[in-house]
Symmetry: C2
Subunit: 399 residues, 2 copies
């Protein structure tokens, strides 16, 4: 029985597809350090957990398609604290950031249309593009200069009459790059010049280091009808399992269409929205502590990578990922091998091969993404295992 | 700034689009009986609520993309009790039934392909079809014969080389029809003959009355590579706000594609899955009591409708909706008027105009869908208000 073309086209998640090898290792009694997925070990705030514990409605009912009014109202306040001025109707709550991106693609693009995305990019953008029948035109960025946005001519070369939007992830997963206001202004001007939407995935807003500052696409009034922001609480409150995000735009007709797509799927999860709402006024100290912790982790990983011969990486300024270029040919094979054939004292480490984060064939084959989402001690062990594994793997390959 | 064609095409939910009129009525102090939406007033089971209250993990983490293993394992047992024999890999947990339907369309159809759906149908199928770029070819069924499936020649007339699937809702929303094994066998044979998928939305499985029995599409081994079942706990456990459903098929390559779409959006909500899992072994008595209650409600609505002159309806055998043909020209106008201009002692009633449940233009303009989801006393009042409203509306129109 034949499947659809998109069913054949859809990419297996390069982050998740090696999971069977990890599970097989675990069944052999091997402990696996998971640096492959952005699942932080940070405790979900008590404020949030209390909502689940104290939920007292007798019927777990549908909420409004646009999200619970109280939550959207409180989100206005949250964004205001981040210098983003919104009305409640500029916000529609979604089932995580994933749904927000799919909605953004539905309303801006027809099947066959194109969007420009700096690569390497969050690999699930491929899946969302397949869902919406949209083609991603990759704009290659390079580890060597911190994955900065290329010059305008490189970007304009990719614009065709099918191009509908530029999609950014800022701070960047998997790059850790944070775009400056000046870099963003270039994108804004290009969007104006070529009449393109800008879809900005800002789920790592809080995660910037060394005095770097995050700029939202919504801070540019000159493209307020073209700017679409995508957000999620998954990383912010270490609540990946709640599946709460939102899509934000000041373009009223666009939001009215998003609402219709939202109505078709009825509503996002109800209690999870209330749980998210409880975090709106989390004290500043919560983020300061977390950032301090992530910064420490980033420094450990970066320093440990420096100790390995012929490994190239730049110190990321945001999110909690680092890309490392390894002195090998096939990082996916290496990642599998680390799970299937390697261990030290019954321990090994899992990371994500970066190849699947590039759209251009052949790129990223020698790169891995490390999510620094474990505590100091575990991270140190994991980096030791990476170093040892790399040594053994290389000597095997050179035989 | 131009939107996509599908952004222009997407239909506003006819169930939800009158909500602003209801809210406006409420702001004037009018009590609105909501018979417009399938949001039951039945208490969500304590077993389920206890899971939220007792959740003790410190990090609300991602689950697997295919759903929590324990829940999928327990679903195998649930279905076994309904004479459906499954392996765990035949099931992928989704964010409610909505996502399951969208996934089913993604993997069976390309943009531009067609599916045949008996109309009137659950109106959000239009939205899902727009998301997937699929065209719905409506197969008209009629209140007069209980919305039974038309003869084969009527169905075959709709089949083109673009037809990929027949999609059914059984028991039916909004019709209340329950397809007999014999009726389904006809569809199964047609699917075999024309090499079509059958997508069967069975979220009202438990809701059958008067000795009627629900038959699943998965009970036909002769089309096991073509059968896709869509399910949800929303109605079953009165847990619409949990957003937990699943997609089930024995077609392994199809499920392997569904999994890739599932990986792109990472996972369904975590605690809500655990809550759903707690209901798997709900005692039979839970459903017996609920069915008794719904049957009573159905009878009230049906009897009250019989008392109104020139109203046509058949007694539904399943789900919790009834379609009534009213002696007026425009049920949507009437529904609005009931909210904007009518009340008795500051009370009115809201129902869903059925026009939006038909795909064929012009059909259903004089029909409303009543969801009998309120208690006996409220239902009686609501039906009184409908009768009074109809009398007043008609006399106004005849002036």
């Amino acid at each position: 029985m034949e499947l659809s073309s998109r069913a054949e086209l859809i990419q297996a998640s390069p982050i998740r597809k090696l999971m069977p090898f990890a599970n097989e290792a675990k069944s052999r009694g091997i402990h696996v350090y998971h640096l492959n997925i952005g699942q932080p070990d940070i405790k979900t705030p008590k404020e949030m957990m209390d909502v689940y514990h104290n939920y007292s409605d007798k019927v777990l009912a549908y909420g409004p398609s646009q999200g619970l009014e109280i939550y959207r109202k409180d989100l206005v306040r949250y964004y205001k604290n981040h210098k983003i001025n919104l009305q409640i109707d500029d916000i529609i709550v979604t089932t995580a950031g994933s749904e927000a991106i799919v909605f953004a693609l539905y309303v801006t693009c027809n099947p066959g249309d194109e969007i420009i995305v700096p690569e390497p990019f969050y690999t699930n953008y491929n899946g969302f593009a397949t869902m919406a029948g949209v083609k991603i035109k990759p704009l290659t960025t390079y580890a060597e200069n911190g994955f900065a946005l290329p010059e305008n001519d490189k970007i304009e070369k990719l614009i065709s009459n099918k191009t509908k939007a530029i999609m950014l992830c800022n701070p960047g997963n998997p790059t850790g790059a944070v775009y400056s206001k000046k870099e963003l202004k270039r994108i804004v001007d290009l969007a104006k010049k070529h009449n393109l939407y800008v879809i900005s995935d800002e789920v790592y807003r809080e995660f910037t280091y060394d005095g770097t500052h995050h700029t939202s696409i919504l801070e540019f009034p000159e493209i307020k009808d073209k700017a679409i922001m995508v957000d999620s609480i998954s990383k912010r409150y270490s609540a990946c399992g709640a599946r709460i995000g939102c899509i934000v735009s000041k373009n009223k007709s666009l939001m009215s269409s998003v609402l219709k797509f939202a109505q078709a799927r009825l509503c996002p999860p109800t209690i999870d929205q209330l749980a998210a709402d409880a975090c709106i006024d989390l004290e500043k100290k919560y983020f300061e502590d977390i950032l301090e912790e992530y910064k420490k982790r980033r420094n450990i990983v970066f320093e440990e990578l420096q100790k390995i011969e012929n490994v190239l990486c730049v110190k990321p300024q945001g999110a909690f990922y680092i890309i490392a270029k390894l002195p090998i040919d096939d990082a996916e094979d290496f990642a599998k091998w680390m799970l299937s054939d390697f261990n030290r004292d019954n321990e090994t480490v899992m990371f994500a091969p970066v190849q699947g984060f590039y759209s251009t064939p052949g790129l990223g084959r020698d790169e891995i993404r490390i999510a620094y989402i474990l505590n100091e001690e575990s991270l140190k062990k994991a980096m030791y295992l990476l170093r040892e594994g790399l040594k053994e793997y290389k000597s095997l390959k050179n035989k």
